[in-house]
Symmetry: C2
Subunit: 251 residues, 2 copies
DNA sequence: ACCTGAACACCGTTCAAGT
DNA sequence: ACCTGAACACCGTTCAAGT
């Protein structure tokens, strides 16, 4: 419905199954501010989205929540846990965004949609790269997503082991693409401070400048690289993986 | 030849094509210590391997090099650059370890070997997850590896675009698997402080404890998960990807 | 050209104290 | 039960000074 392509926010996840601390105590709170796990994590994600990994600071987060630094530790025991929960929060958004899937004829097509939705949530969020599927305890949504993908594969004629391997492969691929941002246009280009054309021709020039005997392939794909679209490239790789899976399942 | 499966070290890379600063000035150096880009990066990798990301500190690195903190900035302009170079250094090791490849009949089999060697270098190095292929300028070995994989695909009947997409997919997959460590045994198990069996049965128990209607797939693969081998799982996913590629290339 | 180390600004985490 | 903020230990980075 909304047309924000910057960090499309279906971030708000489904019910956190985790023991929630910090209920709805609203009454009689006067000058002391009152948070909740949800507020802490949501604001953390917002901070991350606005300013990248460096912007998430306990002090900045506390200021944003209108409280003291120490309070955050009531909800979260370390920065690592905070980042894990932030990543899981994003995955929660993916879950709700894909809640309608799972009825389709073709299980592999469903997996494709799930993976694409996952990918969409990671674009413009370079910060969550390494934080998916860290600790099973704090990342229910991660487990849930894993399960949803796997459920589709249960409709295919595969062994449990093959199913596990396939789900793991799809997840790894998505996370890998998310982590790989960097061959891409640098920030000054994405911001529009430098025109794309300029970046592209500069990039092409720098490839041409390299020894073509040392880097024959880079020369070979210089034009393609300059013109490629990230999302398309993601789908191309995903489709290779899924084609292999389809083959394995005998269709 | 060596049988260290802990961080198998073919780390020492081929000629750094990068402008080297800090030549071999050895004479007349008295109490001032003298470094080199190579020493700085090698020791950084060592620190990282021994103690993880948290262990790499400018102060610790300086102490190890026997010098002052400031000196490091002569070779490297930030911690980010240091980590990029460290990642590239590891990839350099992969390049030398696979120097013999490229003559084989089947290009796809060669790609498979390259990917497996890449994977082997990332196991036990959770720290390099996000640092591959960041800045083309400082990561020659990354470009070189990319090119080597691509070169194999030039022997297949594909369009340049398809080749680019395939190489990117393979790289993303490897990086993704590397980043995904975490469903795996936690450190206290890898260290041997807690026996593997105990972890495995505990894990299985925790899956059984979950609602089987909410997580049918997790129940389905609980046994497989407990028994799976990471390297095998990596190869299984890689083979799906390569099967798709083989199909696309018409064999 | 390269190294030193004190100094700076900032960070995650702790904790005695408050309500 | 939850919040506060000063205090602590430590970090990346800078820079005037040395050789």
């Amino acid at each position: 419905m909304t047309t924000d392509d910057e960090v499309s926010d279906a971030s708000r996840g489904p019910a956190d199954l985790v023991r929630r601390r910090g209920g709805g105590r609203k009454s009689s709170g006067r000058q002391r501010s009152s948070h909740s796990l949800d507020a802490v994590v949501s604001e953390a994600v917002a901070l991350l989205d606005e300013g990248g990994e460096a912007a998430l600071t306990f002090r900045a987060l506390a200021a944003r929540l209108g409280g003291g630094v120490g309070s955050i530790y009531w909800y979260v025991s370390s920065k690592d846990e905070l980042l894990e929960r932030a990543a899981d929060h994003v995955l929660g958004g993916v879950l709700t965004a894909t809640a309608h899937l799972g009825q389709g004829e073709d299980p592999i097509a469903e997996v494709r949609e799930l993976a694409i939705a996952f990918y969409a949530a990671t674009v413009n969020r370079p910060w969550l790269g390494a934080y998916f599927l860290q600790d099973t305890g704090t990342q229910v949504n991660g487990l849930m997503f894993f399960d949803r993908v796997g459920r589709e594969l249960m409709r295919l004629d595969l062994t449990p082991r093959q199913r596990l391997d396939a789900v793991s492969a799809v997840m790894a691929y998505v996370v890998g693409v998310a982590a790989d941002r960097g061959q891409d246009p640098p920030p000054e280009v994405r911001d529009g401070r430098v025109p794309v054309d300029e970046f592209v021709s500069e990039f092409r020039a720098s490839i041409r400048a390299m020894d073509s005997r040392a880097f024959p392939f880079l020369h070979h794909i210089a034009d393609e690289f300059a013109a490629h679209d990230d999302a398309e490239q993601f789908r191309a790789g995903l489709d290779l993986l899924l084609a292999g899976l389809r083959l394995q399942s005998g269709r």
